[in-house]
């Protein structure tokens, strides 16, 4: 059993960079990843901006050092690249030296290939390449990552819409605290697909001008893609290898808004509960939270609901806050993992990222997000929110050691 769970490695791929260094550089330069798609064959390609990873599937294969074009979905490739970076970053040479688990998350899984199959299949049910279907389910990308890295001891996959990978990090921590594993690679991956672009478009929550989280004139989210993974380790694992610790996962909370399948409650009850549980668990007073990496999608509904919940919990002492979705877009099942990596970077480099595209405060809220990069900030504790369809809300708290 371990009372504490430490983060010893991070890995990320997103529209603002194919690894941690490039991502950090983009954040420092306030360079957004939002633009128009190079790879998706959609009728919305010139009208709806997205935050696309700026490399083709062939180039992703090359980065991952793989040859077989048929075998991998974009979701799997993104996951493999970020997960491997986290393992290397953690200084792990031989993964089998210690019981290691993989908890991954995704919302669309291999839909990028299923779409391809289905376009042939609906005209003729004997048509369509079957290879495109064996990767459809959410477990596929997880097993591809596990096989790529040689992880065998425990694997599973979570899908709770946009909080999926925050939940995989929470489960990873609980597997360690329950003494089931000493080390867990946890995070998530999602690629852009026609399915999600059209799905969110029919809900009329995609902003044609790119997302403007917490702005009075916000008009929807921008879809993104990518993957983010953390290496979580027990006290014993960290001590036995004398490892460098990036930070500690001090708190987590999961709650259900139970208000509507897609909409959040106006007062943000589920969001409030998730944050409250995480803070209670961390035993930090609210004044100790230095930075909130908000879910902040840029939809009318989320930012109001999340904002209200933050005001209820923090009262007049609202910490510095930003949504980084103006950089990365909303990466759905990967968002919790990507934003966990950004939270760790905030602690490691003592920086707070700006909330892009903000100009006017929402009339319902009495706080503004951070709009310029803050360097030499004092960041000891970061609270990261991930909220999803179905009211699946999760909060994680990362703390400097």
């Amino acid at each position: 059993m371990s009372d504490k769970v430490y983060i010893t490695g991070i890995g990320i791929i997103s529209s603002i960079g194919e690894n941690t260094d490039v991502v950090l550089n983009s954040l420092n330069l306030t360079a957004t990843g939002i633009g128009f798609t190079n790879y998706l064959n959609t009728i919305h390609r010139n009208e709806l901006p997205v935050a696309e990873v700026k490399v083709s599937n062939n180039e992703l294969l090359e980065i991952a050092g793989l040859a077989d074009k048929q075998a991998y979905t974009r979701t799997a490739l993104l996951g493999m690249i970020a997960a491997k970076e986290a393992v290397i970053n953690s200084g792990i040479k031989d993964i089998s030296e210690m019981q290691t688990g993989l908890v991954s998350a995704t919302s669309v899984g291999g839909m990028d290939k299923s779409e391809h199959f289905f376009s042939k299949f609906i005209k003729d049910n004997k048509a369509g390449k079957l290879n495109d279907m064996i990767t459809h389910d959410c477990g596929d990308s997880t097993e591809k990552i596990a096989d790529h890295l040689g992880i065998k001891d425990y694997i599973t996959t979570i899908s709770t819409a946009c909080s999926s990978s925050a939940n995989s990090i929470m489960l990873g921590a609980r597997l360690i605290k329950n003494g089931i594993l000493d080390r867990v690679l946890a995070g998530g991956t999602d690629s852009l697909t026609l399915f999600t672009i059209n799905g969110f478009n029919t809900l009329m929550i995609l902003d044609k001008n790119g997302c403007k989280p917490f702005d009075k004139n916000r008009n929807g989210l921008t879809l993104g893609e990518g993957a983010g993974f953390l290496v979580l380790e027990s006290e014993r694992a960290v001590n036995s290898a004398n490892k460098e610790i990036l930070c500690e996962l001090k708190g987590y909370g999961n709650a259900c808004d139970a208000y509507h399948q897609t909409a959040s409650s106006p007062e943000g009850y589920g969001a409030y509960l998730a944050m409250k549980k995480a803070i209670d668990m961390s035993r930090l007073s609210i004044e100790k939270i230095d930075y909130i990496n908000a879910h902040g999608t840029g939809t009318l509904n989320n930012d109001l609901s999340e904002g209200k919940a933050i005001e209820k919990l923090f009262g007049s002492k609202i910490p510095k806050l930003s949504s980084t979705k103006g950089f990365t877009g909303h990466t759905l099942g990967a968002a919790g993992g990507i934003e966990a990596v950004l939270s760790v970077l905030s602690i490691k480099y003592q920086i707070i990222f700006p909330n892009l595209n903000f100009s006017q405060r929402m009339k319902e809220l009495n706080f503004n997000p951070v709009i310029n990069l803050i360097e030499n900030a004092k960041v000891n504790n970061v609270l990261s929110n991930s909220f999803g369809f179905g009211g699946n809300n999760t909060t994680l708290i990362f703390s400097k050691v």
């Binding site: 289905f118 609980r174 059209n198």
Partner: protein, 354 residues
């Protein structure tokens, strides 16, 4: 800490949704796939909501409600489900209309209901339950992942009553695709002849089984779950055997004290070999049962077998239809369940009587 099964609810291709019955009448099929015998849903779901719900959502909510009523629990401390493929009917609907209509003028409802967490979320919404809510989606161990999480929550004392279930639906298209992938037998066979056919492929099925697990002892409890474990891509028979040995060792039980072993035999000659090897060696001379001839093969079929185990332990009766060999009439205390999905995802569950 002991973990008890306090309530059960099971919708399957057999007559199982009424907890008073236990496989007295067996449904026989000579079909492409086994579909659930569905209840009249309006007992638990408002007609206005029913119209928009796909089968998997209805089955999931109904099974969940039956198990909650059975356990006499209004609001569980957690809702956790496992599903291999999630809401495929709605996924297909949205995907097809997107392709046919060339991405124009789409109805959002199937998209909204296509996400894998819809069932857990809809249960929470119906119960107004703001507690812990998770959905596991890992192929043949989706339900076992949910079960492990439930047991951790109870052991952490984060919960006293957890609603946990396994749900998967079959659609005609998903059957056609998986048939082309070679998952099912070429010719449809009688489901009760599943093991006699000795050919490649299994019979497709579906189901929704929910349970209320509790860390509180009570006379009405069905059984205890002692342990659950999964393993991934074992190299060979020996690795399988080693994993089972270690599982039993960690659970502090000897193989000789297992009264019944329920196996995931699915009639596919390529994959059943592991079970037969175990039956002839490591599990030699034990009492065996199987279940996939009743519910078909699907990712979360282990939720059906957990229901079967709970029923057997509570009633101290093994229906003939699930017996694989001649068995002496003796009390059934410990049941071991072993299942694997295509020799990739393997799982073990140990249950004991209360």
């Amino acid at each position: 800490m002991e973990i008890y099964i306090k309530g059960i609810g099971n919708i399957s291709p057999q007559n199982t949704f009424n907890n008073e019955y236990f496989l007295e009448e067996i449904a026989e099929y000579q079909d492409d796939y086994l579909k659930c015998i569905e209840p009249v849903y309006k007992k638990y779901i408002k007609p206005m909501l029913l119209r928009r719900m796909s089968r998997i959502i209805k089955m999931g909510i109904y099974a969940a409600k039956v198990s909650l009523d059975d356990a006499n629990i209004d609001i569980p401390d957690a809702i956790i489900s496992g599903t291999g493929l999630g809401c495929i009917e709605d996924t297909e609907k949205f995907l097809s209309s997107m392709i046919i209509n060339n991405e124009r003028l789409l109805n959002p409802t199937p998209f909204i209901q296509s996400t894998h967490n819809t069932i857990s979320a809809q249960i929470a919404l119906m119960l107004k339950c703001h507690n812990y809510n998770y959905t596991y989606v890992h192929r043949g161990i989706s339900f076992e992942s949910a079960l492990l999480d439930s047991m951790m929550l109870l052991r952490e004392n984060s919960a006293n009553n957890v609603l946990v279930g396994g749900v998967d639906e079959i659609t005609h298209n998903s059957f056609l695709i998986t048939k082309r992938l070679g998952h099912w037998k070429n010719l449809s066979i009688n489901n009760l002849e599943l093991l006699n056919n000795k050919t490649r492929g299994s019979i497709a099925g579906e189901g929704a089984a929910f349970f209320v697990l509790s860390n509180i002892d009570s006379k009405q409890n069905y059984a205890k779950i002692k342990s659950v474990s999964t393993f991934y891509k074992p190299e060979n028979y020996k690795t399988v055997k080693d994993n089972i040995t270690e599982f039993l060792k960690n659970a502090e039980i000897k193989i000789n004290n297992i009264d019944l072993i329920i196996l995931g035999l699915n009639g596919d000659t390529k994959y059943d070999d592991i079970y037969y090897q175990l039956m002839n060696n490591y599990f030699k001379n034990k009492n065996f049962a199987y279940y996939k001839h009743l519910c078909g093969e699907y990712h979360t079929s282990s939720s059906f077998v957990l229901w079967l185990g709970a029923k057997i332990l509570k009633s101290q009766f093994i229906p003939d239809i699930v017996k694989l060999n001649k068995q002496q009439d003796k009390p059934i205390k410990n049941i071991l369940i072993y299942n694997h999905y295509k020799n990739i995802n393997h799982s073990l569950i140990l249950m004991t009587g209360c």
